[in-house]
């Protein structure tokens, strides 16, 4: 073969020969470039399939999508459980307290009563018995089958459906009303574990082998990742038709979901989760020290950061790393008080660009971050430093040792004009503290330019505040320097990619998945650190749907073959 090629070449005229050589060299170069710049996805590794609790937002979105946003949810929600930095990961490990179930029950009752109330039922039912006291089996079957498919995010099996219909039938008998009976059928679905938990199911395969999720579990992962809501009818149809088994079908759904109105909400809720905004529920400030800070301002502060993130990452397709240097944001008049910034716009949000010398660069300089990671009556370089390490860089800082010698600190407190740095300098001289505080405090010092509510300041207790510090070898002396250092830290984009993936799959990353993570980060860089591209890459990757069924877990029955009310209705 080689000989034949070389003899063919030998017989060519010189210019033609040159052309072929150049052409081949060109192709090889192009191939090398492709190899270099877009390496292939590593083979899927897979983790365990998960059983995840719906978050409060997901629960609310599900009810709003299925029964309309006006459907009131009367129960309360317990504080979410956070694991590996994310509530999204916590959902795969969180238990469920009696309080939570009690409240789900309250909500289920309220929702079922509202949906089947005289006023609203016509919107959900196009059938019904002539005599209200009689049970209309066909109608019940239709309503419960269709609603059940949306609530359980998969078709009901024949057995399941006849179970719910049977419940409604006997309840109709007991209560003397078809609608009251149906209401109880719906109630039982709303309290069922199949609604409250996302129970992932696995396509057939051997124990310990790498397999794929079944189509409905794929649909679930896709929709909760990209819309923070359950699959809509179209996505369920796609699962039923088998189109999620091919990459083309998945890509099509991914683009559709990322074009939907829910997509920006999903991005916002990811960042709200990563930024630990759920902790605001327990954050309060001393009103005498920070009179401008109240629960309304706390809510607006979170919205400011999320709005800024949405605007930068989605509207402007900006570089994720620039979130740490960005000086464009949005403020309300109430926030303007804390930012000491005039806000011409009376109602709603004023787009604001802080001047370079205004000490407001990056989301770490926003009131939400600064106030959340402070004490009720003062700032804390330690809390802020710890939060930056943990949240933005995915670094772990150990708990403080229990036996600490505090004498040095105590001696310091009595002195006049102390700043936080004076208090904390002790930490770096006391050996048992130094290890961790040297990691946390120096990056927190730059944020001492803001008090515990996030207002800018230059002095503390009458002394000029020294903002100098250091982030892993990058020294800084101003809030702007810190912003640059955070932006350019190699862990910054890596941490985001890791958080995004673990949030999507609801568990920590496995050891074997590290090559996949490298691949994601490489792609993230190629895409100029655009977050939508990262999300698309995750959602369309083979790793995203790969699972390894643990040895102790039997194969799950795939509901599809046993579907009661037909696929793709």
């Amino acid at each position: 073969m080689a000989n034949r090629v070389s003899s063919l070449m030998a017989n060519m005229p010189i210019p033609a020969r040159q052309f072929v050589v150049f052409a081949i060299m060109g192709l090889m170069l192009a191939f090398a470039a492709v190899m270099l710049f877009s390496s292939d996805e590593p083979d899927p590794e897979g983790g365990p399939p998960t059983v995840r609790r719906l978050t409060e937002e997901q629960y609310r979105n599900a009810i709003a999508d299925i029964f309309g946003p006006e459907t009131e949810i009367t129960g309360r929600f317990e504080r979410p459980f956070r694991s590996h930095g994310l509530v999204a990961v916590g959902t795969g490990a969180a238990g469920i307290s009696p309080f939570a179930v009690e409240q789900y029950e309250v909500s289920a009752r309220g929702i079922a009563a509202s949906v089947l109330s005289k006023k609203r039922r016509a919107a959900f039912l196009d059938c019904g018995p002539k005599n209200e006291t009689e049970f209309d089996a066909a109608c019940a079957q239709k309503f419960l089958g269709e609603t059940g498919r949306l609530l359980f995010r998969r078709p009901l099996s024949q057995d399941e459906l006849s179970g719910f219909v049977g419940l409604s039938r006997s309840a109709t008998g007991q209560l003397g009303s078809f609608y009251a009976g149906l209401e109880l059928g719906l109630y039982s679905m709303l309290i069922a574990p199949d609604f409250l938990f996302r129970i992932e199911r696995v396509a057939a395969g051997n124990d310990g082998a790498i397999v794929e999720l079944d189509a409905y579990s794929k649909a679930e992962r896709l929709s909760f990742f990209l819309t923070n809501a359950p699959p809509d009818a179209e996505l369920l149809d796609a699962a039923a038709s088998g189109s999620l088994d091919g990459s083309w079908g998945v890509s099509r759904q991914v683009s559709r979901l990322m074009d939907s109105e829910r997509y920006p909400e999903a991005v916002r809720s990811f960042f709200a989760d990563m930024l630990e905004f759920d902790d605001f529920g327990e954050t309060s400030k001393d009103p005498q020290i920070y009179p401008a800070f109240n629960s309304v301002v706390a809510g607006e502060a979170q919205e400011q950061t999320l709005k800024t993130i949405e605007d930068h990452l989605l509207e402007n397709r900006g570089d994720y790393r620039d979130l740490f240097t960005l000086r464009d944001t949005f403020l309300t008049r109430s926030l303007g008080v804390i930012y000491k910034t005039p806000i011409p716009k009376r109602e709603g949000w004023q787009a604001v660009r802080f001047q370079p010398d205004a000490n407001r660069a990056g989301i770490q300089s926003h009131v939400a971050f600064l106030a959340l990671h402070s004490h009720p009556g003062r700032s804390s370089p330690t809390l802020r430093g710890y939060a930056m390490r943990k949240i933005f860089l995915c670094q772990e800082v150990p708990d403080p040792p229990a036996s600490v010698n505090f004498t040095a600190i105590e001696e310091h407190v009595d002195k006049a004009n102390v700043t936080a740095r004076d208090r904390l300098d002790i930490h770096s001289t006391e050996p048992s503290c130094a290890g961790c505080h040297k990691v946390m405090d120096p990056i927190g010092f730059a944020l001492e330019a803001y008090d515990g509510a996030g207002s800018h300041r230059t002095h503390e207790n009458g002394s000029l505040i020294d903002l100098s510090g250091d982030l892993d070898g990058q020294a800084f002396a101003s809030t702007n320097d810190l912003a640059e250092a955070l932006r350019n830290h190699p862990e910054t984009p890596r941490c985001l990619a890791q958080r995004m993936y673990t949030s999507a799959v609801g568990r920590d990353i496995t050891w074997k998945e590290r090559y996949y993570l490298d691949w994601l980060i490489e792609g993230f860089a190629d895409d100029d650190y655009q977050v939508p591209s990262l999300m698309e890459r995750i959602a369309t990757s083979d790793n995203f749907f790969a699972v390894v069924r643990p040895m102790d877990q039997p194969a799950r029955r795939v509901a599809k073959n046993n579907a009661a009310n037909g696929d793709g209705q």
Binding site: P287, P291, R333, K340, T341, R346, V352, R353, N359, H456
Partner: protein, 404 residues
């Protein structure tokens, strides 16, 4: 007194609107505003929102030699001292009380039924309204006319200047003479302060300085005193917050522009006509002040503390303070007549004066803006205020509250 002509006022208004428009254009682009850091002075501007506002009055006069005939009386008290108003034998408390109220109401009207609060000019002289003629009485404030009027004829006319506790002499504060013997204007009376309305967003006052280099000493600053079009921003314990953003009222008559100077931390302004909003019992009123001037101390952290003083047109003062005849509803239409008449009579009864009595005192004690016949038409009025740092912007669109 330097009287500004109507045309110069118009001219100033035009400038104000133009300046406002420019500022609005600068502040109100479709896109982002530019924000800088800094303290109170930014680009030579420093603004304040008034957080305390009350009549500057003297120490309590009722019960002292300053009010030798006792306090002014309301109609019920006046009636109860007539022969008919005496308690009859066997009359229960309740019955007597009702009869006194009815008698009081009867003497609030002319024989033809016209109410004296609405038509104070037709009422006979009310001998039960006391004015405070005591030359020893004190009051704080500003010397408005540059004269210390303390002559014998001043004593007879009642136009007698005060000396203040801080050593200021020649203080023109005739309003205090008019109300000094009314119970409700004593220290703990309800009429001295009226700033609650400010804290619930009914009205407010903004002060802006521009061209400021130094809050300690600056020989030339521009000053705008205007009505606030936005509700005050408050802490959870209902205290005014510093550095809130507020919009000026868009109507030129609710803003006065003048100049001034800062000397050793004291701001002194040139006189300018200003006008503020005021709300009583759901009735929208206006509180004007002619030739208003500020003398206030500026602290390092931007708190202004001092006097705002000038002359109030007697008829307008009567209307926003006592008679409410010009009260308007939220749509700018005259308030329901029953509400206006009821409020004026009710206030007089509760606060311890008569409408006609106050009308007469104000006219008698007026000391400013003589008309062609030489009759004074305005009365010197002093307010004590505190103002704190704020941002003031121009507003496109409507005022937050209806103020017509």
């Amino acid at each position: 007194m330097a009287h500004k002509t109507a045309s110069s006022r118009l001219w100033l208004s035009a400038i104000a609107i133009a300046a406002g428009g420019m500022a609005a254009w600068w502040w109100w682009p479709d896109d982002r505003i530019s924000a800088e850091s800094g303290g109170l002075i930014r680009d030579g501007n420093a603004s304040f929102i008034v957080t305390k506002f009350a009549y500057a009055l003297g120490p309590d006069a009722v019960g002292t030699d300053s009010c030798p005939n006792g306090p002014s009386k309301n109609v019920a008290e006046i009636f109860s001292e007539t022969a008919n108003g005496k308690r009859r034998a066997g009359e229960t408390d309740e019955a007597y009380g009702e009869r006194i109220e009815a008698g009081g109401r009867a003497i609030s009207n002319a024989p033809d039924g016209r109410n004296f609060c609405v038509n104070p000019e037709i009422a006979p002289l009310d001998p039960n309204t006391q004015i405070m003629l005591d030359p020893k009485a004190q009051a704080g404030g500003i010397d408005l006319d540059g004269k210390n009027s303390r002559s014998k004829s001043d004593l007879t006319s009642g136009r007698l200047d005060f000396a203040a506790a801080d050593g200021t002499t020649g203080v023109d504060n005739q309003f205090w003479r008019a109300v000094g013997c009314n119970r409700s204007y004593q220290q703990d009376g309800p009429s001295r302060g009226f700033e609650e309305g400010m804290y619930v967003g009914e009205w407010g006052i903004l002060i802006s300085l521009s061209g400021v280099d130094d809050l300690e000493n600056d020989s030339d600053v521009d000053i705008t005193i205007s009505a606030n079009a936005d509700p005050m921003m408050l802490s959870p314990s209902r205290e005014a917050l510093d550095y809130g953003t507020y919009s000026r009222d868009r109507e030129p008559r609710f803003r006065g522009q003048t100049s001034g100077r800062i000397e050793n931390g004291v701001l002194v302004s040139e006189p300018v006509d200003v006008r503020f909003h005021y709300v009583v019992n759901g009735m929208y009123l206006e509180r004007p002040l002619r030739e208003a001037r500020i003398r206030a101390r500026l602290s390092a952290d931007g708190v202004m503390d001092g006097y705002l003083a000038g002359y109030t047109d007697v008829v307008e003062l009567y209307d926003f303070q006592f008679g409410y005849r010009t009260g308007k509803d939220a749509e700018g239409k005259p308030s329901d007549e029953a509400r206006r008449v009821g409020s004026a009579n009710g206030a007089a009864r509760v606060l311890g004066h008569t409408c006609q009595g106050m009308w007469q005192s104000l006219h008698k004690l007026a000391d400013g803006h003589p008309d062609k016949s030489g009759k004074f038409t305005s009365i010197s009025t002093q307010y004590k205020f505190e103002a704190r740092p704020a941002f003031v912007v121009e507003q496109s669109g409507k005022n937050a509250k209806q103020t017509k």
